[in-house]
Symmetry: D2
Subunit: 343 residues, 4 copies
């Protein structure tokens, strides 16, 4: 890769503190399968944010695996999931949820978010029992696949309709760090813990090499959770690898600081582009920027940078997507802005 990449937020390795801690602890002997002291300490640190000392927390290696385990562990075979049609489980997981036997009921969504009205419409059109699968779990992600975030009011109202209809609420937090660090965010981890039944805190996009922390506020769902982690291939012999990373992220506020930096870089790009008179296809809530630019400018930028061409707007303009991360080089951001300004 000779050009600088704004393709995604996982092109680099991990925050150097993590590598240092891995090295410092490397030769200690630890109990396997997540019973190590680092995982235990990481759980303790995360629980400080949850407002509950006993909330079960499990570490697994990735996001799709978290979705597989989290969803299949709480559903019986006739139960279905309600998701926005842009949900990661709908579009980008190769049918992983269906492969565990469950139907996903899709709700149209323009901005990646699910609303109580959307949930209600899914319930209404899936009520012809027993000829239809029974809706039992609502899947949302925050930040969404479109980079938008949920407000406390929105999450609370989703929680209400779920409780009213005996639906579980699951939040995929692969991008939770950048959501919570967004300027217009008013949610805390404690709120997420209060409003959802199960959620995860993504590590990969937050500065770790791999890893998600699955948090289960609805403790009934946790009873046999370890079986499901093992059954789906998610139980690492050297669980310390996951524990150490979350330990580093939640010591010294690294988790939030890295996300704030990532968002700040996105804002810097976004503001500069708007200042140059260009518009955005979507508001920059977190670390994804969707500027609409002249194709000539895009071609110029492509000589030095990698990014996704998102959508054709008209014959002269296209939307591109720029993603920043904890590792984004501000010099490259400035260089990108320089080219935009120049033209």
């Amino acid at each position: 890769m000779n050009k600088y990449s704004f393709l995604d937020d996982y092109s680099e390795g991990c925050h150097p503190d993590i590598l240092k801690t891995l090295a410092d602890t490397n030769m200690t002997q630890q109990t396997a399968y997540g019973g190590d002291e680092y995982s235990e300490r990481a759980r303790g640190l995360i629980r400080q944010h949850l407002g509950n000392d006993t909330t079960p927390i499990y570490f697994v290696s990735g996001g799709t695996l978290s979705n597989i385990i989290g969803i299949s562990s709480v559903l019986k075979s006739h139960e279905a999931i309600i998701s926005a049609n842009s949900g990661h489980i709908v579009l980008h997981e190769t049918g992983a949820i269906e492969a565990t036997g469950h139907k996903i009921i899709q709700v149209p969504s323009a901005d990646g978010k699910l609303t109580p009205d959307g949930v209600q419409s899914a319930l209404d059109s899936n009520a012809h029992f027993p000829h239809m699968a029974k809706p039992r779990l609502v899947y949302i992600s925050n930040a969404t696949e479109a980079g938008t975030i949920y407000s406390k009011e929105e999450l609370s109202s989703l929680s209400k309709i779920c409780k009213k209809n005996n639906l579980l609420l699951l939040l995929d937090g692969a991008r939770l760090c950048t959501a919570l660090a967004a300027d217009n965010n008013d949610l805390t981890l404690k709120d997420v813990c209060e409003f959802t039944d199960i959620f995860w805190i993504g590590g990969t996009k937050a500065g770790a090499l791999i890893g998600e922390a699955i948090v289960i506020p609805n403790q009934d769902l946790a009873e046999d959770f370890a079986f499901h982690i093992k059954q789906r291939g998610g139980l690492l012999a050297k669980g310390r690898l996951l524990g150490i990373q979350f330990l580093c992220l939640f010591e010294n506020k690294l988790f939030m600081e890295l996300a704030k930096y990532s968002n700040a870089m996105a804002n810097k790009l976004s503001s500069a582009i708007v200042d140059c008179g260009y518009s955005l296809a979507a508001k920059t809530d977190s670390n994804q920027v969707f500027p609409i630019l002249p194709n000539t400018l895009i071609e110029k930028l492509q000589q030095s940078f990698d990014f996704y061409l998102w959508e054709k707007v008209d014959n002269q303009h296209s939307t591109i997507r720029l993603v920043t991360s904890w590792a984004t080089d501000e010099v490259q951001v400035d260089s990108f802005i320089g080219i935009v300004k120049e033209i």
Copy 2:
């Protein structure tokens, strides 16, 4: 853990070279999902041992996940697996294979190995079609769960009966390193590649933090393999983590050297125990030792060491299991032997 542990071969982190390379490469931008240069170089190094420049190789995070992906990707829903009744997929994966929809036909085995006769008996007693699932894949592990290893002759004869009966042969190589490094081993990676349709090279027990390299000599099976990795949650965004580890293991022969060290430590324990007049419940082929000791001696050893009580032999004696690894501290081995000699 205050005592020194001979419980397993994954109590420590990873070989220091791996941590160093992770640090050295950390901030380079890499293509995600296994498209990084380190994964590509690791594949090249492994292929040098296989005798084929084009053999497909994929990296995934763990052993159970490799079994899930490897097995479910090659079978149709009515096809079954033949395995020794001591196979890891039978006993210690929480029904992971059945969770993908497939039946496992168990063949009794005293030493963890499967023989052509065992395969034939499974075929004979599962031929009442279509009332019985159709045997299609033979699962073996090397080293086996009992620590025994396959000879070239044994693997070749299994390969023959499989080919004759249109069965695929899969070798679970979670412990392949210690098998290939065993004193009485006559197999090479090239042989394994010749005799099997798909196998994996375990990293976790070979000095890595996580990771298995899935090798697919029968290239027809590889066509859509990446879909299955993704669908089962095994596709890491930062695939570099896996590639870098195998790069380190296969540069400078680390993979074999660490395994030889591990076996040597087991042999040292084994020989000293036998020299003291005690017998072994099983021959020490690789890195597992099963001495039969007086209970009084066992109690004494337990004051300083952790290990599994394997089986009661009589009122005065029990079998214990000692596992060594690339990280075993020879000082502790000597100390263990000292206590045995003393009593």
Copy 3:
């Protein structure tokens, strides 16, 4: 049920010829599991319509089971189905297909039919491999869930796009009888056999008690089909029950004649209603009629008849659904029409 029912086409038992043949053959001893002489003769009769003496045919008890077996037997776990969003497998089978592990890609459809453009759009939006399940099978039904039927030209063009894209074409023929018997139909069983890879001929709505005949023109798909029937619980010990019914339906053209009668009754209802000045929400292609009537008239009709209120049109009018069958009593049809004319 005190009122006469136009709710569905399975409120009565079966054509009396079937009961007579069941009685006539009852005490003969027959080979189990579909090996009986009646099933064999029924296959022979059906094959006379297919233009191929060797086409594999299997009988199973119902439509959802046929979908489960037909679809899961031909797909590998990462492969997906393309269906109209009104497809029976999408809406009314309780997630049966997902329960076998497969994702259904939904294509919007106003009239229940799938077009080559619809298939192409599904391919285009599901091409981000390996992050998306691989489209492999196109599911259509004829007559569709909306009562519409495919023309020869339409089915041929679907077949073409499928072949071009390595997609299998499956036709759910639960209502195939009324489709083939429709006035505007130009398809034959031979055409269906030519254009699809697998399809079934529904018996339940054609005058049988239960039963579907699964036909597999693409014989490669039939190799292990019996295993799948057994594995999904579809292999009846007394397979004669299914064979005898299809034997009766395909002797003396009963299959087509009953469907023609059913369609004729629908046409009679439809024409009379239109003659009275009311409009239809959809054209009456087969045995479903969707008149738009004043609510006052509907209430009057409900005193003597059962039928579905389909949709509110405005404050004074609603669409209702009337379904006729081989068993529809023409006296009741006349009585229904009488009330419509009267008001």
Copy 4:
């Protein structure tokens, strides 16, 4: 089939009363999907034997489908079944249970029965959690696949160990009729209802064309049962077909009388063979007879009869299996005995 068959108990159609009732009720309009009046009356008649007016009862078409639905509806994905290694779900259902995602733990059994000790040993050897699937359901059949039957004492003691270990007890009653009608039986349907959580009453071998009545004494398990019937393809549009058959079997005690006749025919064969000085490989509890005969006699019998050669005993003798049914022709039984006596 020119010879008279003792191969199985499903070579003929059904008891004539069933055909008569099918004919008598044929043209009445009935609510679909099991809501018909015949199914409701059949449930009422069966409940008279259960000692509980509210026990849920569902009708499905076959035995394997009952196992699929009954088992998959009550288990979560990490839960396993304990079964004798001779269980129908282990040996003769093409991996149907595994295809729903569940592991079967096999317990060796010489006579087809499972004992409390067998259950305990399965629990003991499957307790390494979470690395092993969690035992949750015990599967037994009565009569067993070997023709043996459970006493009240045996079933009661199985029930006790299940309750003590939070295990559900499921009884596959495909052959329940001949078990309950056996001379040495002391179980009633009420007992079965008391001791099990879910069981079924087989119709196919009891004189019906198809059909099993699934009874759910543990009513918590019934909550969403209809979803599972539909999802697995077991919900017949014309549910009347199943209801009418059980209505006939449970009116006028046909269910028990036919089974008694079947057992009597087996006893007649068995006694006569023993009287001739031959021994039996197993006691004749129900409608299966396992005589050990000289090969020369067997060859002679094969000229007029079809039956299974079960096992070679020595160079001159083999075990054969004879199965009788409600439809067995006593003239043929006498003729069989005549040949045995003659030689």
